[in-house]
Symmetry: D2
Subunit: 340 residues, 4 copies
């Protein structure tokens, strides 16, 4: 069998673990061949390929990023589906393993409709892919964000400040909620719960009067004020539909400073959240997903995504996932609230 392999969308830690597992399992267990496409779907369109063997994957397990490169490129939007099919034919690809988030999974569905066998592996630091308990990259992002909050904590306390920390999370607040609980944040703002700036201000005033002289506020980049609340604001998008980093954080920090008079500072974590060596959890998740994807391909199962469900790796149909977002569950949001 000749298996195609690509990574698409934003890079994140754990992709190389998945690539390594796909290659090891495909070559070692089944004797398949693995053809890598460089820079995601763009490499498929351009025919930019590399045959992968043991030497390519040496030492990549602890490395962040993706040794295949990646790009935000959608072949269907770009009107390039014909080139995709042409490359697959030229390379005699029997099935494609696509590691990616929303956009990549969406492209994978379109490709599947053309009769190509597709297996998807979910990755997104936002952790909002439907159908899987975990996506590659999320766990490392939470670690990085928590470490940053730990650092900011000592400054907040030494200077009697309100520190606002903006983290990633456009449609779901997974990173904000997890790092907020782990970092002991007083307030966590997530897209799941539109916020009321007046309640926040009231809470901070009460806290600083009663028993503290500092506070940590973690804001997901996709958090929005409740309709009709005191702060009117809509998330602004960049040219690729991306959220402008810092936009929400700046508004929130500004409002807190103005309304409370407390010395308030903003930190925007930005790109550091998606880079560097993956945590063991992301390495293991990538490894398990890679092995499972090759097992699935070999068993003739296609148009599915590998998923973690109750600690086990399972396969879910691609069509069940499309267009859905996995929100942070209420019980986790509650823990963030009650431990404030």
């Amino acid at each position: 069998m000749r298996i195609g392999l690509l990574t698409g969308g934003g890079d994140c830690p754990g992709l190389n673990a998945a690539i390594r597992a796909v290659v090891k399992q495909a070559l070692g267990e089944y004797g398949h061949q693995v053809i890598g496409f460089r820079n995601g779907w763009k490499g498929v369109v351009d025919g930019d390929v590399i045959q992968l063997d043991r030497s390519n994957i040496r030492n990549i397990l602890p490395q962040g990023g993706t040794m295949l490169g990646t790009a935000r490129f959608h072949p269907h939007s770009a009107g390039a589906m014909d080139q995709v099919m042409a490359t697959f034919e030229a390379e005699r690809i029997d099935a494609v393993i696509c590691i990616g988030g929303d956009g990549t999974l969406n492209a994978a569905s379109k490709v599947a409709e053309q009769g190509i066998n597709v297996i998807a592996i979910p990755k997104t630091i936002d952790n909002d892919v439907w159908g899987t308990d975990l996506s590659i990259g999320y766990h490392t992002a939470v670690n990085i964000a928590t470490e940053a909050i730990d650092r900011i904590h000592t400054t907040a306390e030494s200077h009697n400040r309100v520190m606002v920390v903006e983290v990633m999370g456009r449609h779901a607040g997974w990173i904000a909620v997890a790092s907020g609980i782990a970092g002991g944040a007083e307030i966590v703002l997530a897209p799941e719960e539109p916020f009321d700036i007046e309640r926040i201000v009231k809470f901070l005033r009460h806290r600083h009067r009663a028993h503290a002289n500092f506070s940590i506020v973690v804001v997901a980049e996709g958090a929005e004020p409740a309709k009709g609340s005191a702060m009117d604001y809509e998330v602004q998008l960049g040219q690729f539909g991306e959220i402008i980093a810092g936009a929400v954080g700046e508004r929130v920090a500004h409002e807190i400073q103005e309304r409370t008079g407390f010395d308030t500072r903003l930190t925007v974590l930005g790109h550091v959240q998606r880079g560097g060596t993956p945590t063991p959890t992301d390495r293991i998740l990538g490894s398990r997903f890679g092995v499972a994807a090759v097992d699935a391909v070999t068993a003739g199962k296609t148009n599915v995504m590998t998923a973690l469900h109750n600690e086990e790796v399972v396969l879910v149909p691609l069509e069940d996932i499309a267009g859905k977002v996995k929100p942070v569950p209420e019980d986790l949001l509650r823990v963030a609230r009650v431990l404030a």
Copy 2:
């Protein structure tokens, strides 16, 4: 309500997160009182108590260990159940939240039999408590072990050595398997699969002849040779029934060196695996378990253990857990094997 709180058995990261959550939830949400016992069951017997409030739990979230102290002490074995009951009566305790592993849960059951309302929170870096996907401390231990293997990897490669790393895990090989996969170990020895030294030696010889000049072997302290295999060995226990650190690792390293002639070195991770700042996962787990334990106590549910099941916190009866060990599942053992 007056809630007793103790931590028993070996310390580990994440205990303070649970203590903090118990106190915050009990005082803030319900207006209960929390009475801490120092040094586990020993403090109950001795009447060594401290009333816990917000000031006691300040800044403890990122701290390893337990601010209550802990001890390996079993009141029933020590014939001290009467003092336990006396202290609970003197302190007018309505229910006890016990954070601990095997031994502590066992003691909790004995106490429950005396009519005391008990809620247990599972902790053990070995992750072998039955009935819960995760126990407090395990996740941090895997992180530490993986970081150590990453470090040892560069030495193995620079010196063309076989490096044997002994990690904790007496009855189950969770740390060994997880850190072995995450660290890219060639061989993982876990109690779940008695090993055959001759197969290991054969594998290493083949690998070093074919395409590598170094190898990493991760050994759980409770790993044992298969009965009738070339290496005859039984796990030796210390005076408290503890495994002697390094005993198995030394045997395995010695056999590999002797049989292959490869330069082989042993590292015994030991106590570093159970200390230091908890990972976000352990902080969140401790926080969730602490909140859930207080909710359970308040709702009148007792003789249960908080547990993580399919990402949710649930309660399982203490009697369902007693005497059982949760082994590493076969599919994870297989990933460790196929990625070797």
Copy 3:
């Protein structure tokens, strides 16, 4: 003897190590008393004091920030020198140990002019205090910045991007140069060498054409374009004379994107650079400075600053330091250049 102790200016890791050493050495070695002032010079003016003993310094060695609190407050500018003297008299202070940067050392000089015995301990993550090889906090900041660059490196490479990272350093580029060398940055912009955006652009174009598809550019917040060069820009200051975080980085990233067409992104590290657990180097430096300051006070040496010179702790007169900035030496700037 009654020794006053304060920390002033921005907080940073290692302050608590110095506080602990002052208290241990003063009480344990000489039997002095130590009176802490809260929130820097503000606490002196307000008479906000705390007598420090062994219990206050428990467990603070690995903690970032300062357990005394700090503030950006200059008693002379605030016309509060009389209150300073009044507090010192009321508390019967024989000498004051001031841990701080430029502003605090300046205030210390003014106080010394009033006849108060002053010993200064230098701290600044910018490392630009004249007369000492190292100031407390710098080393940890370099560690944090390097870790961030390591993370950003994998994203740069995976996405074929130019990543601009803005770090602290208003008058001197120590953090930028050190983290740039350690992180393998292609370009480092420091205040010591006004930059020419056209040369940068030329370098990047050549590099991306010849042998790479990504680059890392580290910019100190105080870096400025050469007079008369293509990019006209002056550093903008905030209301306290502070540099606006991100201002220079944004300009540089924008120019690179516009002039090269390469996909360019900015990360502003901000407050994380000054928080969290100190590195061993900062803990040791703080400890040595604290011990030396108490030794100096006891020996009747005053109006001096503790300094590291050729690995040894020495004392330098406060008057030698005033108004000077310690730039990055040419040989270190050259290493950053030749390893690009």
Copy 4:
């Protein structure tokens, strides 16, 4: 010019930074060629060479170990000086840059006597090379040891134990003293000061009676009891003259347990101290030494070692170094004592 390059002795973090700097500076600045020898002097004897260019050094800056491999092999002891000279002649080597510790520097001197131009770069985690303030690898080792002590601290405190931590340092106690101060150890045992177990026991008894219930004791592997003191012991050596890991630590832990009755545990850090990603300090040191070595070779200076002196890189004659050990200075030993 054709420059030979090798790394000898035990591996450590920062070697790759030096290799990268040598290659970048030699090729980029001067147009020299760099011939790498694999596995230290062994590769010279065997003629195991690799021509190094930009592609070989890609991404190695943050990697521990040495991409050239290393070995403990002394050509003069092995009677292989003729092969060394033969290889240098066959490869037309104009000068050799040797990165190593005692043994390698010694071999370098022997080679220099044969008329070969030699430049040495000092590396040793023990930091005991005479003539330089810092050697490559030491700084990272201190970081690792301090992190381990931080972890062990929480266990010591939670369990009321004496924790003994054995670190490397055969002839000098640099790692023990630095990590002991940074980790807040109560007692540090270094080869520079033979210890008296009775004084240690007395100190611990007093401390545990007066104000604490735990203690940390850091022991360098080369620490020895004072002659005539209660504990009679000589350091035992392995077959290569190496200290047996754990030997001293075990003796010390045993004596403390026996004499005080306190629950006492030993952790032997071992190989983790010399692996993994280098700290920024080691990366910068390796980079500076590499650049300086190539500058020296080009300027015709030979039979010298690069050294750090008062923050500057200088050259010291090889003959000045031979047979000397750089001990921890008294003022640093004192800080370890007074902060106990």
